[in-house]
Subunit: 319 residues, 4 copies
C-alpha cells in the first residue's frame, strides 16, 4: 500500500481534527502518502482531495469540527454513487480509506468494503450510540459543553424560583441526558430508554417545593417529548415559572477535551496501522481502555444502549 485516503462524514464532532492529524503522522512515519477528501463521500465521488503532510495538520489538534469538512450525501447511498467513488479511488491510486463518522457514514464504509475496497471506520458521534466502542469520539467534549451551559443556567434557576427544562442532543440515545443530569445534579433526566410519567414528576417536584426547594433542572433527551409541553405541565402543577432551553449545535463544537484528543489520536493511529497490515472492513473502538477492531458488519447490525447503572444513577441522585 502506497497511498491511502481519509474523510469525515455526517455530523461533525470535536476530536476529528486530532484523529486526522494522528492518522497523517502515522502514515508519514510509515512512508505512505495520505490524501484528504473534502466534504466526506461527496468529495470522494468527485475526487476533491489534496495531499496531507505534516504542515497541513499542524495547529489543528485543539480545534473543534473537521478541517476536511463534512457533508451528508444521498447519492453515495446508491450503488451508482458507490461505483463512482470506487472508480475515483482507482483513478487517484488510493488503495485504502479511513472513514470518520456515525452510523450512516459507517454503513457507507461497509458498502465500500463489500465492494472489495480496504476501509477502516472510526466511530464519531456525540450521541454515543455506536456499538462496539465504550465511547464514540466527541461524546466527552459534548458532555462538558452541556454541563458548562447547565451550570450557568443553574445559577439563574437558583436565583429565582424557577424550573428549567433543558433539551440536549442524543437522537435515540439517552446517554447525554443521563450523564449530564448526574453531572449537574439535575432533578430529572427524561430519556427514551425509560418511560416516565409526567404527572408523577410534577408531583415529586411539588413535594420538593413544599420542602422549600424552589428550583429544578430537568434534562430532556431530544425526541423524548416537547420541551414546552413539559414546561407548561410543570408550571400548571407547581406554579413556579418554567423556562425551556434547547442547547442545540453549541454541543457539537469547541476545543476537544483531553479525552477526545487522546481517543482521536489513538483511533487515527490504529486505523492506519490496520490498513497497512492488510486488515479491512473494520471499525476501531475503545474497549476497556484498549483500541480494538470490530467488523463493520457487526457494528451496523448492533445496537448500543446506555449502561443500566448510569440510568439508575441518574434516578438515585436526582430528586
Amino acid at each position: 500500500m502506497k497511498k491511502i485516503g481519509i474523510l469525515s462524514s455526517g455530523g461533525d464532532c470535536s476530536g476529528m481534527n486530532a484523529t486526522i492529524r494522528s492518522a497523517v503522522r502515522t502514515a508519514l512515519r510509515m512512508n505512505m502518502e495520505i490524501v484528504g477528501f473534502r466534504k466526506g463521500y461527496l468529495g470522494l465521488m468527485k475526487g476533491d482531495c489534496f495531499t496531507l503532510d505534516s504542515k497541513v495538520v499542524s495547529g489543528i489538534l485543539h480545534r473543534g469540527g473537521t478541517f476536511l469538512q463534512s457533508a451528508r450525501s444521498p447519492e453515495f447511498r446508491t450503488p451508482e454513487g458507490q461505483q463512482k467513488a470506487l472508480a475515483m479511488l482507482k483513478e487517484l491510486g488510493v488503495e485504502g480509506l479511513v472513514v470518520l463518522g456515525g452510523d450512516g457514514s459507517l454503513s457507507g464504509a461497509l458498502a465500500l468494503h463489500r465492494l472489495g475496497f480496504p476501509v477502516i471506520g472510526i466511530p464519531c458521534s456525540i450521541d454515543n450510540d455506536i456499538p462496539f466502542t465504550d465511547m464514540a469520539l466527541g461524546v466527552d467534549t459534548a458532555l462538558n459543553n452541556i454541563i458548562y451551559a447547565v451550570d450557568c443556567i443553574k445559577d439563574t434557576a437558583s436565583s429565582h424560583a424557577r424550573a428549567f427544562v433543558i433539551e440536549v442532543m442524543g437522537r435515540n440515545s439517552g446517554y447525554l441526558a443521563s450523564v449530564s443530569a448526574i453531572a449537574t445534579g439535575a432533578e430529572f433526566a427524561l430519556v427514551p430508554e425509560r418511560e416516565f410519567d409526567l404527572a408523577e414528576i410534577c408531583q415529586q417536584l411539588r413535594a420538593r417545593y413544599e420542602e422549600g426547594r424552589d428550583n429544578a433542572i430537568i434534562i430532556l433527551a431530544e425526541g423524548v417529548g416537547n420541551g414546552q409541553t413539559i414546561a407548561d405541565s410543570i408550571k400548571d402543577a407547581i406554579g413556579f415559572e418554567t423556562r425551556v432551553t434547547v442547547l442545540g449545535h453549541y454541543q457539537r463544537g469547541g476545543a476537544p477535551t483531553v479525552f477526545d484528543r487522546l481517543l482521536g489520536s489513538r483511533f487515527g493511529k490504529k486505523a492506519v496501522e490496520l490498513l497497512i497490515s492488510g486488515q479491512q472492513g473494520l471499525m476501531v473502538g475503545l474497549s476497556c481502555n484498549a483500541i480494538l477492531a470490530t467488523p463493520l458488519a457487526d457494528v451496523i447490525k448492533g445496537e448500543k444502549r446506555p449502561q443500566d447503572e448510569v440510568l439508575r444513577l441518574a434516578e438515585v441522585l436526582g430528586i
Copy 2:
C-alpha cells in the same frame, strides 16, 4: 445610620454576588449593620431578611446569580406595596437600602426614594440598556458566554456548508448582538436600532457563497424577528442548510469575568459609601472608568443606545 439593607431584584446577572460581598465588607468596615432581603422587593415587603456578615459573603465572589435570590413583584409596583415595604423597613430599623437590578427594579428604588427613604441603585442588566453607566453589571460575562457558544457553533458551521442564525438576549437593545457579532466575526448582526432588508442580506450571502464561502453566522437580537423565518429565507435564497439556535438563559449565569467582579466590587463599595455620607436617590454608574452617581429620576427618564461606532463596526467587519 446604623443599619442598612440590600436586595437584588429582577433578572439576575453574574457579578451580583461580588457586588453584595463588597457592600457588606464596606459596611462592616464602617461599623454598620447590614441585612440582606431575600427575593427582592418580595422579601422587603415581608421582612424576609437576615444579617450579612463576613462569613456569609465568603466564597461567593466567583459565583454567578445572586445568593439573596431575586424575583419580580407586581405588588411592589402599587402604592400599597411600597407603603408595606416602608413600614417593614421602619420596623426592622433599617435606615438605608441598596437595590441591585434593571430598569424595573430601579423604578421601584425611585419610588421608595420619593417616599423619603434613602436608597441607592446599582445597574444590573445583561442587556446594557440602562443609561448613565457605560456598562451595566453582567454585560461582560454575558458577552463572553455568548462568544464561547458562538465559537463552538462556528466550528460546526465551517465543518459543513451551513448558515446559523443565533438569537441572543437584549430586549430592545442591539448591544449584545452587535458586540458579539464583532467579537466572533459573524457575517451579520440584526439589531433593533438599524433596519435591515432580509432580501439584501440573502443576496450578499449568495455573493459570498459564489466566492466559495459556504458558511455564515447571523447574530439576531431577541425581538427583532423570528429566527426560523430568517433561517428559512436564507435557505430558500442560497440553498444551504440553515439552523437556528436560541442561546437563552445560558447567557445570564456562570462565573463572572474580571470586569464584572471588579465593576461589582466598585459599585457595592460606592453605594454603601454614598448612603453613609447621607446621599440618596442615586444610581451608581461607570463613567470613563470612574464610579459616578446619577439621580435615579434621570436614569428612569433616560434612554441608552449602543454607540454608533459599535453598530457601524459590526457592519464593516461583517460581510
Copy 3:
C-alpha cells in the same frame, strides 16, 4: 449499620465534593445517618465531625476541592493515633467509614481495617498512580486544566521562536505528562518510566529547527529533572529562547469535568452500598467502565504504570 462516616485525606482533587454528595444521598436513601469528619484523619482522631444531610451537600457537586477539608496527619500513622481514631469512632457510634484519598490515605484505611473497623477506600489522586482503578478521581480534571494552560502557552510559543519546558505534576508517574503531551501536540514528554538522552533531544529539536519549525513544547514530569537545566541545554544547543513554566497547584482545582463528576458519583454510591452490605477493607475502582472493589491490601502492595501504548503514542505523535 446505623451510622457511617466519611472523610477526605491527603492532596485534594476535583470530584471529591461530587463523591461525598453521592455517598450522602445514597446513605440517606437507605435511611442511614452519615457524618463528615473535617481535615481527614486529623478530624477523625479529634472527633471533629458533623451530620451530613441533603442540604449540606447541595450546591457542591460542581466545585473543586473538598468542603470537608483535607490534611496530612503523621500522628495517624502511629498505632496510638489509630487507636485514638477507633475509640473516637466507637464513642460517636460510627460503624463504618468511607475514606477518600491517595496511597498514603488508603494505607491509613487499611490500618483501620486490620484493626477490625469496616472501611471502604476511594482512589483520589491526580497523578493516576493508584493500581486497581483505570482512572483515579481528579485525573481527568487535572489533565484538562493542564491542556488549557499548555494551549495558551502554545499561542505564545508559536508567536515567537521559542521553546517552553512545562513541568506538570505526577510524582513517580509519567501519566499526566504523557497524556498531556499527546493532547497538546507537544514535541517531547520527559517521564520517569522512560530514560531519555537530553543530547539527542536537542539534536532532534535542532533538526526540526533547520526545517523551519522554530518553536517547541517539552512536557516534563515533576521529579524527572530540573526544568531550568533542561531549558538551558536546549538554549545552548539550538540558540532560541527557552522558558520554563511550573504549572503547580493550579492543576488540582477548578470545576470537575463530567468524567470526574460521574466517576465520583459512582464511587460514592458504591462505597456506601458496600459498607451497608457488610463488605469492608476494599477500595472501589473503575475497571472496564464498571465499578469494582479490590482488597485494600492488594492496592497498597500493587503498582500502577501508564500503559505502554500511551507512552509510545507520545513518542510517535511527537517530533
Copy 4:
C-alpha cells in the same frame, strides 16, 4: 497611499490577531493593499513579508498570539537598523506602517516617524503600563486567565490549611496584581506602587488565622519580591504550609475575551483610517470608550500607573 504594512513586535498578547484582521479588512474596503511583516522589526529590515487578503485573516479572530509572529530586535534600535527598514519599505512600495506592541516597540515606531515615515502605533501589553489608553490590548484576557488559575488554586487552598503566594506578570506595574486580587478575593496584593511591611502582613494573617480562617491567597506582582522568601516568612510567622505558584507565560495566551476582540477590532480599524487620512506619528488608545489618537512622542515620555481607587479597593476588600 496605495500600500501599507503591519507588524507585531515585542511580547505577544491575545487580541493581536483580531487587530490585524480588522486592519486588513478596513484596508481592503478602502482598496488599499496591505502586507504583513513576519517577526516584527526583524522581518521589516529583511523585507520578510506577504500580502494579507481576506482569506489569510479568516479564522484567526479568536486565536491567541499573533500569526505574523513577533520578536525582539536589538538591531532595529540602532540608526543603521532603522535606515535598513526605511530602505526596505521604500523598495517594497510600502507607504505607511501599523505597529502593534508595547513601549519598546512603540519607541521603534516613533523612531521611524521621526525619520519621516508614516506610522501608527497600537498599544499591546498585558501589563497595562502604556499611558494614554485606559486599557492596552491583551490586559483583559490576561486578567481572566489569571483569575481562572487563582480560582482553581483557591479550591486547593481552602481544602487545606494553606497560604498561596501567586506571582503574576506586570513588570513595573501592579495593575494585574491589584485587579486580580480584587477579582479573586485575595487577602493581599503586593505591588510596586505601594510599600508593604511583610511583618505586618504576617501579623494580620495570624490574626485571621486565630479567627479560624486558615487559608489565604497573596497575589504578588512580578519584581516586587521573591515569592519563596515571602512564603517562608508567612510559614514562619503563622505555621501553616505555604506554596508558591508563578503563573508565567500562561497569562499571555488563549482565546481573547470579548473586550480584547472588540478593542483590537476598533484599534485596527482606526489605525488604518488614520494612516489613510494622512495622519501619523500617533498611537491609538481607548479613552472613555472612544478610540482617540495621541502623539507617540507623548506616549513614550508618559507614565501610567494604576488608579488609586483600584489600589485602595484591593486593600479594602482584602483582609
